[in-house]
């Protein structure tokens, strides 16, 4: 009862915060929608990174710290190879690289550590993180590189007749959203409808039982790390195209952490919804809450975007530790 009460309070508070700018007249409907959309678009990117986390956690109970490094590595690969060949070829080749990486990780890291404590595996993925960060720079270089998707960067105006001044929207953001949505649909089909998907869920629940019905653990791990690699690739290309491929990309992994806490470590829809909530929440807080706080407490400035996600995650941890869609309590990390 008490728990439900807390959840309701949290939900109501979030909703109130969300609609407050509109109701209080602090913002015009057009500007508000623009901020909302901007948040959703940013959220899609968080979702993509979080998706990689969830995939691997679902299938192996391992919190893969290296997901951010994989995003950077994939983006670097695409950016540098695209200098030598057409973009589509670079992307295809990068998919190959990510799959090869999955094989190597399974053989060198996961197989020797089978049946070890999740903490041991977490540490191992930390090792993979640092290796990938360094290795990527060794072979691809450490400058800022470009990925040109051939989509115009200029914002376009939409819904000009509905809102005064219309809404500015970026075409590449829309493309990213479509790509993410497609990826999610494919993954959902794969997990729910195929025997490999069923095997993946089985392995996630119980290694021993999965083995006893003839599911080969090693192959499953390669598949799931490959999937995570491909998701990382999509995230990397989208981020890279937007902001340039640079080391800071690997830090998005840290932004994806609140997302998975919010959505639940084992839920693909959770990663998506969590990403959107964080994305929208951040933007809303930055644009509407920060000025109010600055005025009320006589602060120097905003910067709320940097910590808002973590505070939100903390609140969720207190009230709903398994996240919005999580299957069970997070007792492993």
């Amino acid at each position: 009862m008490r728990k439900n009460f807390n959840m309701i309070v949290l939900g109501v508070a979030l909703m109130a915060g969300l609609i407050a700018p509109l109701v209080t007249g602090a913002s015009s409907a057009g500007f508000y929608t623009e901020v909302l959309l901007g948040g959703l678009m940013a959220g899609v990117l968080y979702s993509l990174v979080a998706l990689g986390f969830v995939l691997i956690f679902k299938a192996s109970g391992v919190f893969n710290f290296a997901q951010g490094a994989m995003v950077l590595f994939a983006a670097l690969s695409v950016a540098r190879m695209a200098e030598m060949m057409p973009l589509w070829a670079a992307i295809l080749l990068a998919v190959g690289i990510m799959v090869a990486l999955a094989f190597v990780v399974e053989r060198v890291v996961l197989r020797p550590l089978v049946n070890q404590d999740p903490v041991v595996l977490l540490m191992a993925t930390l090792g993979v993180t640092y290796f990938l960060d360094g290795f990527g720079q060794t072979i691809w270089g450490s400058d800022i590189y470009e990925i040109n998707l051939g989509i115009a960067k200029e914002p376009v105006m939409i819904l000009g007749n509905l809102f005064e001044g219309g809404i500015l929207i970026n075409k590449d953001d829309v493309a990213a959203t479509v790509a993410a949505a497609l990826l999610v649909i494919l993954l959902a089909l794969f997990f729910q409808k195929t025997k490999t998907g069923r095997a993946l869920r089985a392995v996630a629940d119980d290694h021993l039982a999965a083995q006893s019905i003839g599911i080969p653990l090693n192959r499953i791990w390669v598949i799931v790390w490959s999937l995570a690699g491909v998701v990382a690739l999509v995230a990397g290309v989208v981020w890279g195209a937007k902001l340039g491929v640079q080391f800071s990309i690997s830090q998005v992994a840290l932004k994806a952490l609140p997302v998975v806490i919010l959505g639940g470590f084992t839920s693909i829809p959770g990663a998506i919804v969590g990403g959107l909530i964080i994305g929208v929440g951040e933007k809303m807080a930055e644009v509407f809450l920060a000025p109010v706080m600055v005025k009320a407490f006589d602060l120097a400035g905003g910067g709320i975007e940097n910590w808002f996600a973590y505070v939100l995650a903390l609140l969720f941890l207190l009230v709903l530790p398994q996240g919005l869609f999580g299957e069970k309590h997070i007792d492993r990390v």
Binding site: R198, D206, Q211, S212, I213, G214, E327
Partner: protein, 266 residues
């Protein structure tokens, strides 16, 4: 009771032959030179006090443990050690002492995983539910439905297994193994922690599986009454060594067994 219920089937040739199995974990000798065989269609029990090596024996047959010495011959194929995947492909299924179900899934999905090895359609065909894949899925669903009917768990198809009471979870564990249509079924303490009624149900299911499906069964069980009632032959282990082997009546009369195990209650 045993002989009467098992009347319909005939015990065949040796299907599983274990020769001189020795297994050690560091300094602990779990199994020492254990030799016994299992015949087709029989119910073979492995008994012994705690720590006798019963579960280790099952894990050797199943390929989870790899013995340092000895050979395992199953259906004429002899091997030194085997992996779990191969064991499953060869038709060995098992249940677990501490239920090892996929807790996030429904009863139906859990049992469906038992069909995984038999599914042939390509990934894409399955995801898109193309004709042939759809047909295959239906066939497997039918096989699963037969198992569900057999074990009388129709009412729980869509329930996440984590919510089921213990006795029913054990039954789903058995259902998943049966969905593999195994030649050899390994049951690790199928009745542990059950009340009398649940035990009776489980006994009936084991005998039905053996009788109607002709499945060969190797089981570990602590409840002496159950073991003596349903098994055709019994192997007795103590401190990793075999100290008795034979029909329930023979084992009951074996002095070494009485000393090591049954003696406590006599």
């Amino acid at each position: 009771m045993g002989a009467g219920l098992n009347g319909g089937r005939t015990i065949g040739d040796v299907v599983l032959d274990l020769q001189g199995i020795s297994l050690a974990f560091g300094g602990v000798q779990a199994l020492q030179e254990v030799t016994f065989d299992v015949r087709e269609h029989e119910i073979r029990a492995i008994i012994g006090p705690n720590g006798a090596g019963k579960s280790s024996m099952l894990n050797v047959i199943n390929g989870i443990y790899h013995p340092q010495q000895g050979t395992v011959t199953f259906n004429g194929v002899t091997r030194h050690s085997v992996n779990t995947h191969k064991a499953a492909v060869q038709g060995i299924a098992r249940t677990f002492q501490n239920i090892a179900l996929f807790k996030g899934m429904s009863v139906l999905d859990n049992i469906m995983t038992g069909r995984n090895l038999r599914m042939k359609s390509s990934l894409l065909a399955q995801a898109l539910r193309v004709g042939s894949a759809e047909r295959e899925e239906m066939e497997h669903r039918e096989a699963v439905e037969r198992v569900i009917d057999f074990l009388e768990i129709q009412a729980y198809r869509r329930t996440p297994v984590g919510r089921l009471p213990y006795g029913l979870q054990k039954r789903v564990d058995l259902a998943r193994a049966l969905a593999m249509e195994p030649n050899l079924l390994l049951l690790d303490e199928p009745m542990a922690g059950m009340n009398v009624e649940e035990k009776q149900d489980m006994c009936r299911f084991i005998l039905d599986v053996n009788d109607q499906l002709g499945t060969t069964i190797v089981l570990i069980e602590h409840d002496m009454g159950v073991v003596m009632d349903i098994s055709d032959r019994v192997v007795v282990l103590d401190y990793g060594k075999k100290i008795g082997d034979g029909t329930p009546a023979e084992v009951r009369g074996n002095q070494a067994v009485i000393d090591a195990y049954l003696g406590i209650s006599h």
